[in-house]
């Protein structure tokens, strides 16, 4: 069941996978994933813990090699044209994994240069990004001395510095305060206006519901639902779908636990 989000002008999608598989020994983390994300979309990629979200993201960003199937970013195959793909994408991984013994300024300079940008451009953009994210005064501090929220902002700045066409965000709102979250949302909205495709995974379903125009849900490595919120609601057979939130839909598709098992005798 390919998740066709929307037709594109030149026929290529921002993200397109076909029969994507990744195995770790006997365990299949991603099992024949077919996914299509149109350009300029805010796309939410959901699933319970261990569903295969991060593995998919790692395959799309070149950190893992698929066992089978294909994955393309903006028409470029992630295995055969990795450099072209990497030039066009920005990544904010869940485990921030920054070079924490560099200062904020040095880190952005380092990342910008890794994308082959001229030093003057890197310095100008890193200054602007740090100011925008409220880190201008902290640019000479080592990242190890930043708070988690500050590190998250730096990771976002690093993913944006080369002006990517597709932005992959793995749990970008985890561990940051409401003010920082608001700022990140504003930046993402601006990027969307500029035609950037945003591929987001998050456990905070309210945010996904509010931000993402299109959503796909993966469970046990397989795609089990995809479409706009309305399309997902219409897929619910009971007819009660029209009133359902994304959380309701998610639980009905993935969890649906028997409520009686959740009862605690000592709370009765």
């Amino acid at each position: 069941m390919p998740a066709m989000m929307m037709d594109t002008v030149d026929g290529s999608f921002a993200v397109e996978t076909s029969g994507l598989v990744r195995r770790f020994g006997a365990m299949t983390a991603v099992d024949g994933l077919d996914l299509r994300v149109a350009r300029g979309t805010f796309f939410g990629f959901l699933g319970p813990n261990g569903a295969g979200k991060s593995t998919t993201l790692k395959m799309l960003t070149g950190l893992l090699t698929p066992t089978a199937g294909t994955a393309k970013i903006l028409g470029h195959d992630v295995v055969r044209e990795p450099v072209e793909v990497k030039r066009r994408i920005g990544v904010v991984p869940e485990e921030l994994a920054l070079f924490d013994r560099l200062t904020g300024g040095e880190y952005l300079e380092f990342v910008g240069r890794m994308y082959g940008m001229p030093l003057s451009t890197v310095r100008q953009r890193s200054g602007e990004l740090l100011d925008l994210l409220g880190l201008g005064g902290e640019s000479s501090k080592l990242l190890v001395d930043y708070s988690h929220g500050m590190q998250k902002k730096v990771a976002l700045a690093a993913a944006l510095i080369h002006d990517p066409d597709v932005l992959f965000l793995d749990e970008p709102f985890e561990g940051i305060d409401a003010i920082a979250a608001r700022l990140v949302k504003t930046i993402l909205a601006r990027l969307l206006e500029r035609g950037v495709t945003i591929f987001l995974t998050s456990h905070i379903l309210e945010i996904v519901e509010r931000l993402c125009a299109h959503v796909a849900i993966i469970h046990q490595g397989k795609l089990i639902a995809s479409g706009t919120m309305d399309e997902l609601r219409h897929g619910v057979p009971s007819g009660a779908g029209s009133r359902m939130t994304l959380e309701d839909l998610f639980v009905s598709l993935v969890g649906n636990p028997d409520e009686s098992t959740g009862a605690l005798s000592w709370l009765e």
Binding site: G50, R101, M114, S147
Partner: protein, 547 residues
């Protein structure tokens, strides 16, 4: 509180049991057990020695003060043992930060009590308790000490030693929580160890110099320490145990005060450690990171991505404890080699010994960063993912990281050469050029071999750790490369005593060009290896490859 204490003891036991689930854990446990056994033997030997000394005293018509002296020594040794035992046997490293237990319904005072008790019952302490008990039993059996005051003195001494031990352990743990302090302590500790290595020699020389001086000034200046020594807990314990008089009561009271002071001070440190910020230093002055151009400038000739990687690598080395230690040790080796060369007068293969020592020093200097050359991703941890998510080709990742290390290696060589020159004067042009070429000739094969080892067997380390230890294989590979290089660079040196001596740097230069060519040819292959091994690398440095 008792149930919590039991729970905490159970928890520690479970941690110990779970540590046996891996080969590394079993190895560590075996080593620790062996060390504890060695400690136990030492403690028993100590008590035995004390008894033997006392028997010897009894058998000879010596004054009773000798028994007091023997008991003071025995208590003193046990106190010292108690203080160092947690550091030797590993108990000083907290399995669980007490601050985390504060989320449970208990007061800080209760938590401190529990921490003290579990510390007192740790394996490191169980080693010396029998020894201190043996001192009391022996004294009672032989009739040297009063059973009651002796028991009180022994128990109080035990409590006092444990109190001071836990205070020092608490202070050590809380200091370790501060990153910068931890790094400073590690670097300072290593430098102190090195200084201690040369200290006996310095003292010996000082002694010889002062041989004609007569009166020891030190003795005069240290006379005021005598009452301090008399008030030390081991002396008080011995005094109280051996004599049943008013003086014994005073000694017991003083011992109790020492104990109370240790517990009170330990409590203050415990509270201070609980309430201070953990790792982040927000609000404090930004650490000095140096000017941007200082590191980035010299590598601007490289492609932007490789230059950025070289600058990053150089910054990391300079900000690491191991790197800082290397910056200190390089001139020390220069001094050592300079002094060594000063004593040698003969020649080898026609090469004057000072010149040969200089060339050897240059060869050796290429290995200062050995651990980092053989473990180039050592401090990158999860950051290594960036090498694979950016469009930089893997061969250029290696080129950049290698260049950064080579730049620092060059800096260390410069330090060594400057030290040598200050001690022995600037070497002749031919010797200097040859030395620098030998250094470069050694560095390139080390870099190639280091890349292979780093990719195949990466070992993540804390940047604050004094060693950037690479995998076990690196030592053998280093020795192999060194041996081969000694042979290769040694061949041109055979011309030293001939008319073709000026050709030596030329030949060494040819070797360098050939090695650079080989490096350039091999880089793409090394890059491919890096790409092929990226998942293993990510797993080893950043955790699981997928989730």
């Amino acid at each position: 509180m008792r149930s919590r204490l039991k729970t905490l003891l159970w928890f520690k036991l479970r941690l110990a049991a779970h540590s046996l689930r891996s080969v590394a854990g079993i190895t560590e446990t075996v080593i620790t057990t062996l060390m504890i056994l060695m400690g136990a033997i030492l403690a028993i030997l100590l008590a035995g020695t004390a008894v033997l000394v006392m028997l010897n005293v009894l058998l000879s018509p010596s004054p009773p003060d000798m028994i007091l002296h023997a008991y003071t020594l025995a208590f003193g040794f046990l106190a010292l043992f108690a203080l160092v035992a947690p550091f030797v046997f590993g108990g000083a490293k907290a399995e669980l930060d007490p601050a985390r237990l504060l989320s449970f319904p208990m007061t800080k005072r209760e938590l401190y009590g529990i921490t003290l008790t579990t510390g007192a019952l740790s394996g490191a302490n169980l080693v010396w308790y029998p020894a201190i008990a043996a001192l009391w039993i022996t004294g009672v059996v032989e009739g040297w000490i009063n059973p009651l005051t002796g028991l009180a003195a022994t128990l109080l001494a035990t409590l006092c030693f444990v109190g001071w031990q836990q205070l020092i352990v608490g202070l050590f743990r809380s200091l370790l929580r501060n990153r910068r302090l931890r790094e400073l302590l590690a670097a300072g500790g290593m430098i102190l160890l090195m200084l201690l290595g040369v200290l006996p020699n310095v003292l010996e020389k000082g002694k010889h110099a002062a041989a004609g001086g007569g009166t020891s000034h030190a003795q005069l200046h240290l006379a005021w320490l005598r009452p301090v020594f008399a008030a030390m807990p081991n002396r008080l314990a011995a005094r109280a145990a051996l004599r049943f008089d008013a003086g014994a009561a005073v000694a017991l009271l003083a011992l109790a005060l020492w104990t109370a002071f240790a517990i009170w001070l330990g409590w203050r440190i415990f509270v201070w450690a609980l309430e201070r910020p953990d790792v982040h230093s927000s609000g404090r002055a930004a650490p000095s990171a140096g000017r941007r151009g200082l590191v980035a400038g010299p590598v601007s000739w490289l492609p932007p991505d490789a230059g950025a990687l070289a600058a990053k690598q150089a910054r990391y080395v300079l900000r690491s404890t191991a790197g800082k230690i290397s910056l200190v040790t390089a001139p020390v080796f220069g001094i050592f080699a300079g002094v060594l060369a000063g004593k040698a007068t003969h020649a080898f293969l026609g090469i004057p010994m000072p010149d040969l020592v200089f060339l050897g020093l240059c060869l050796f200097a290429a290995g200062f960063l050995n651990n980092m050359v053989f473990n180039i991703f050592v401090w990158d941890h999860g950051g290594v993912a960036l090498y694979f998510t950016t469009p930089t080709p893997p061969r250029r990742v290696l080129l950049g990281l290698n260049t950064g290390l080579a730049a620092i290696a060059g800096l260390l060589l410069a330090e060594t050469l400057i030290t040598w020159s200050l001690l022995r004067g600037v070497p002749g042009l031919l010797v200097l050029t040859s030395g620098i070429l030998i250094f470069a000739n050694e560095l390139i094969p080390l870099t190639i071999a280091g890349n292979v080892i780093s990719i195949l067997s990466p070992v993540p380390r804390d940047i604050g750790s004094p060693a950037a230890r690479a995998s076990g294989a690196s030592g053998f590979v280093w020795m192999g490369v060194m041996t081969v290089e000694i042979v290769i660079s040694g061949v041109p040196l055979l011309l030293w005593n001939t008319g073709a001596k000026p050709l030596i740097p030329v030949l060494l230069g040819v070797i360098l060009v050939l090695e650079l060519g080989a490096y350039r040819l091999l880089l793409p292959t090394l890059g491919q290896l890096l790409e092929r091994r990226k998942e293993r690398l990510l797993e080893a440095l950043a955790g699981a490859p997928g989730s």
